[in-house]
Symmetry: C2
Subunit: 345 residues, 2 copies
């Protein structure tokens, strides 16, 4: 018998988070507990409004999925097959929560951290970048100084202030910088910005053009002095082949693709197409960030800092040491409730 | 400390095995034992002469790989990372043996059958086909009758006798038949044969044209009434994208791709390209066949009968029940020495 409980939790952001698409101070994610054979597996859904999800749609979807997992023909121990069978399409954040909880359960049942089931070496973690949201020069400067332990910064762009933001960052540090435009540029914007981003030592640019402009992105790639990474343009593994010529790499997020199983498949497909791989996240607690971190030995770039941007993280999981995520060694995902848990921090 | 022992073993075929490329009565495979932390992992290399491998080159390669695994920076428990680091390119059969032994060790260490580490449901196994080699009508007829418990037959073709062979088979049974041409046809042969193969109820055709005729195969696919599967045309995951338009499916073999890790990657890439997947084998003992069988819940078609074609199988592993492979439940690959083992049967 497999049983589910779930609750929403409002994550509070340390700083107002500004993207090309808007700003926010909080985010409501859904947290699930799957109980099976006396063990509890933990999962988190970070629903993306843009794709028609919120915590209520995620709650409905996880309930539906667990009803399927409880059917006698389904064995939740066969987590990969079971997650596939139970999936509710169109609700990838909820899918990711269930997939993650099933893998947490499997690791706990076998008494091993999940990365051991994959045969990955937790010592080979790429450095993680730290995200600097769009803000006034003063705040940007303060954020960059706060992020001193991170070897790579990711700067959000997509406004008329782009050049000013990067100049502010460069005034404080010469660390490697990646830029995320979040679909915020036109083709002409991108052409112009890529030139000076390149001159100012930026490493790569994420999602310069809107997701539906694949042909234009392909053109842009031919003339871009910097590698282009897909984020909003790519969700699941089946989409990777058709965008392989428009991008140099892809950003994989559990909440976008539906979980760790699909993320693993995307990694294989991206590699076969010679694409670089970044592992990213949304605003998420240490639970979802740690789940993604279990796959980090397989990727080139890590951008798993969602938990560092919030002030009331209900979980403790992967820690950051010298700019790299350190995976916990406890069984499963190795994540535990923080002192405050779901209480008010 | 990880230590290796290996020995060759001559597998004796029940019937002389005839393909488009030649005939044989025996096959010499290399068997490895990896000892680590008091446990023993088993692996088998089935070297393919056509690709410049034999048991001596495999023996040299496994020794080199284990020397790398023994380096202090490598952790053999991280089997996926370790297999990748240790791989000797150009010797995929040896790579597969080491990869398999490392996964066997991991399952034994965690006390679980390897399929549990992948989260697969051993109840969802496709039926396996049984191979009928090229032979005289009398022998073909006898083989088909012997194969009564198999729901699907795979008939080897690539000679002037092709039509006669299939007519003989169809004289005995109306079971589904797949055809493997092993690169034995010209474009004109293929055109003519595909027509009557289709009329005689054949399901699919493997490798109709030589591996280097990808463009011709693409043309053939457009007019073929039957799905075409790649075998000799595909080895590793990175090759899958470029042949996705020339074939409807691929045949994955551990000894061709370098092991279970790469096979898993190929499955993901093939799925992303909408290709069907067959899991195949060479003439192999129950060890390598069982290793492949652990991945069978992920594929569409299973052709894992190499162990059934030999008379002195040194191992016992997956059994066949009602035409389907049944995975053993013991930890790791779940394979044990047979009564005769490496002695003379």
């Amino acid at each position: 018998m497999i049983t589910l409980s779930h609750q929403r939790h409002e994550l509070r952001l340390r700083h107002t988070f500004r993207l090309a698409r808007g700003a926010s101070d909080t985010r409501t994610n859904l947290f699930v507990e799957l109980e099976h054979e006396g063990l509890v597996g933990l999962g988190e859904a970070a629903p993306i409004e843009r794709y028609g999800q919120d915590w209520t749609s995620a709650a409905k979807a996880v309930e539906e999925m667990v009803a399927r997992l409880a059917e006698p023909t389904v064995d939740p121990r066969a987590f990969d097959s079971a997650a596939e069978l139970a999936a509710v399409r169109g609700q990838p954040a909820a899918e990711a929560a269930i997939d993650m909880a099933l893998r947490d359960l499997a690791g706990k049942r076998l008494g091993a951290p999940y990365y051991e089931l994959l045969g990955l070496d937790p010592r080979s973690m790429p450095v993680t970048s730290f995200t600097i949201g769009m803000d006034t020069p003063e705040v940007v400067e303060a954020k960059v100084r706060e992020a001193a332990e991170f070897a790579v910064l990711k700067v959000k762009m997509g406004s008329d202030e782009d050049r000013g933001v990067l100049e502010t960052v460069r005034g404080v540090t010469d660390r490697p910088v990646r830029v995320d435009a979040n679909e915020g540029w036109t083709f002409e914007d991108a052409l112009e910005r890529l030139e000076w981003l390149h001159e100012m030592g930026v490493e790569l640019v994420e999602q310069p053009l809107p997701a539906d402009q694949l042909e234009a992105t392909r053109e842009l790639r031919h003339i871009s002095p910097l590698p282009l990474f897909a984020d909003e343009s790519v969700h699941r593994s089946a989409e990777v082949p058709r965008l392989a010529e428009a991008f140099d790499g892809i950003n994989i997020k559990l909440t976008k693709c539906g979980g760790m199983g699909e993320a693993l498949r995307m990694i294989s497909v991206a590699r076969a197409h010679g694409l670089q791989i970044m592992l990213g996240c949304m605003i998420e607690s240490s639970l979802a960030v740690t789940a993604a971190a279990h796959l980090a030995p397989l990727v080139d770039h890590v951008d798993l800092d969602g938990n560092l941007l919030i002030s009331n993280d209900p979980f403790v999981g992967a820690a950051v040491e010298e700019g790299r995520l350190v995976l916990p060694r406890d069984p499963g995902l190795g994540v535990h409730r923080s002192e405050t848990g779901f209480g008010r921090a």
